[in-house]
């Protein structure tokens, strides 16, 4: 190797590279623009905070009169000073729980099927179909359930009561009757939350590392082995979050419950028949328009409690889902 003598450039006066200072003046139009987007988010914030403030203000009367008994009292009769939201809240939770228990496995199966089992060409079609299920209005589900499912489920429910009546939950509050039950509401709410759980858990599962999945298959594992040992450990939290999101949606479900549940409100654990637990959404919808000021205030407070419950569930769910996606 020979070294080449490269003539250096003639000594030039060294000029320090100084970045020019940009005088970034904000024009008046841009200032107006920033003001517009800032104030619009302020408006959004105010609207949503106003919802909370208004409801709290109107519900204060019942809270002041009832105190903590508002939740613990078992009888609900606001005009005579009994604010027993207990059975209503338990009823709403029971419906959501039944819905998640039914919808969960089905949705997981649907999510796995779309991600792993379905032919590739069908995948987007199936995703679309599941999302479509989510857009059907809940009053239509409620009407469908009222006319069809509520009757169809009565004979399996009777069978359950006849043969498994010794299990505490599997009873009817009114012996011999099986429609208009918490269970029926949960069953139909399950149909409405299937798309939610399916799409969220599908999303989470699709982020499982593809190379690990293929490595599992390449080592001779079965597809089920891949699901249990690669996909599930990866997406367990996300699936849990999806279930929680479905639970939150089930808590807030209104029209299905209004249409199907019987008009009664007793604290009981039997869920397979009418005249058992009540539901927050149903109570509000049916009695708000005609109630006395105290009853209205109590119903608003009830709505606030329900909102608080869904809020906690949703925030928890979002946290879990987000963390499971971030910590991949």
């Amino acid at each position: 190797m020979t070294t080449l003598d490269i003539p250096l450039a003639p000594e030039a006066p060294l000029v320090e590279d100084v970045p020019i200072t940009i005088n970034r003046s904000v024009t008046r139009a841009d200032r107006a623009f920033r003001f517009a987007i800032g104030s619009s988010s302020l408006v959004v914030l105010l609207i949503l905070v106003a919802v909370l403030v208004f409801l709290t203000a109107y519900g204060w009367r019942a809270l002041a009169a009832g105190g903590l008994r508002f939740i613990t009292d078992p009888t609900w009769s606001p005009d005579s000073g009994h604010f027993g939201a207990m059975s209503l809240l338990v009823g709403s939770f029971a419906i959501a729980l039944v819905a998640v228990l039914i919808a969960g496995p089905v949705s997981l199966a649907a999510a796995l099927m779309i991600n792993e089992y379905a032919p590739t060409r069908l995948r987007s079609v199936l995703t679309g179909v599941v999302d479509m299920l989510a857009t059907v209005p809940s009053i239509v589900y409620g009407f469908w359930g009222l006319e069809l499912v509520s009757n169809l489920q009565s004979s399996p429910a009777k069978w359950l009561v006849d043969h498994f009546g010794f299990v505490p939950f599997l009873r009817s509050p009114t012996p011999g009757e099986f429609v208009q039950s918490i269970f029926a509401c949960g069953l139909i709410s399950a149909v409405t939350i299937i798309p939610i759980i399916t799409s969220v858990s599908r999303e989470v599962m699709s982020q499982a590392p593809r190379d690990a999945c293929e490595a599992a298959l390449g080592l001779g594992g079965t597809r089920w082995g891949m699901v249990t040992d690669v996909i599930m450990p990866f997406s367990r939290n996300g699936v849990l979050g999806a279930f929680l999101l479905g639970f939150g949606r089930g808590l807030g479900e209104t029209m299905i419950v209004v249409l199907i549940l019987s008009k009664a409100n007793h604290l009981t654990y039997a869920i397979l028949g009418p005249n058992g637990l009540g539901s927050v959404a149903k109570e509000i919808t049916e009695n708000f328009a005609t109630g006395s000021p105290m009853a209205k205030s109590a119903l608003i407070l009830l709505a606030l409690v329900l909102f608080g419950a869904t809020l906690v569930v949703n925030v928890l769910a979002r946290l879990i889902v987000n963390r499971s996606q971030a910590g991949s």
Binding site: I47, A109, T135, I139, F143, T228, T285, T310, L311, V313
Partner: protein, 393 residues
Amino acid sequence: MTTLLDPRGAVPADGPPGAGPGGPPTDAGGDRPRRPRSLTVATVLEMAGAAASGLALVWTVFTVAGISAPFGMAVCWFGAFFTIYGLVCWRLYGPILAKDRMATLGIWAGALVALFALAAVIGYVLLKGFTVVFSGFPHFLYADMSQLGGTAKVTDVGVGPAIVGTIEQVALATVMTVPLGVLTATYLVGSDGLFSRTVSAVVDAMTGAPAIIAGLFVYLLWVQPRHTAGKSGLAAAMALAVMMLPVVTRAAEEVVAIVPGSLREAALALGAPEWRVLLRVVLPAARAGLITAVILGVARIAGETAPVLFNAGGFARYNWNPFSGQQDDLPFRVYELIFQPGRVPVAAAWGASLVLVFVVLVLFVIARLLGSSQPGRSFAPWKIVRRNRGPEE
């Protein structure tokens, strides 16, 4: 993990020795490669055999016991089929493959249940609503409800006022929501302070709020102070807007966030003011996604009943003015009709449900078609439709 690996060939990589399923490989098939998706004649025969023997078993048991329950029989048949098929596979191929086959079966069954639910809902609404809507078509779509009651037939009534109300209320809600939502989304994407995080958190919180909250809020804010005059299409639209605002904001934020930063920065570097960057660069780039988000939001709220329940008031005749007087809309009308005695209102409710489902699903399909086009392309529905029917499909 031991269940992952098929004992026929591979050695568990990370499991301790001896933790395997135990016993020698039960399959004599040797090292034939297994194709995960293959469906062989043997598989089909095994399934058919298991199904047939399951049916025979269940039918025999039910007949001998004298039980007549078609639904129970179907469930038991699936249970028997599942068990027999599992046992057959266990005997033939060993536990690991048997588990895989059973899981496949279970997953297909679960997915079919989900699909069946959709088909059942839409099918039932079609079944019940079709004759109502199409007897004397299109009378049901423009007639009003004033004839309802007495000896009226279902062909005397219609949901015209409800359709008008739904369109006007949803349009008002959209007009109220979309600019606010899009501007807020722009703000949220562009800044990362305490304020924007608060807004973001509150928007998130409201996304999952029960629908009845929105209805109560507008009732307390707007309807109650005005007594009976408060119920109107506008009040209903406000309640729907409260529902729609977080949905649109969140969706718009996602869409705006994926607009490449380089586009935005290029425009800024060329000296464009921020507002022009938003209007001429960011929003056009995000247009398809934004339109999809808005339409999906519209489809969601068009079917909401709880927010309009206390606020629209309902009206059997046409009220074209959403700003004064009670107004009908489709979900409200369905709700009203269900609770009226007699067969005619219920039949009309099915008709109204069918119209509602049709509207919502059409909106959904439009949103899908727009959403499947790439962002940044010029927006032209006919082009998108043609593109989706491309020669490769």
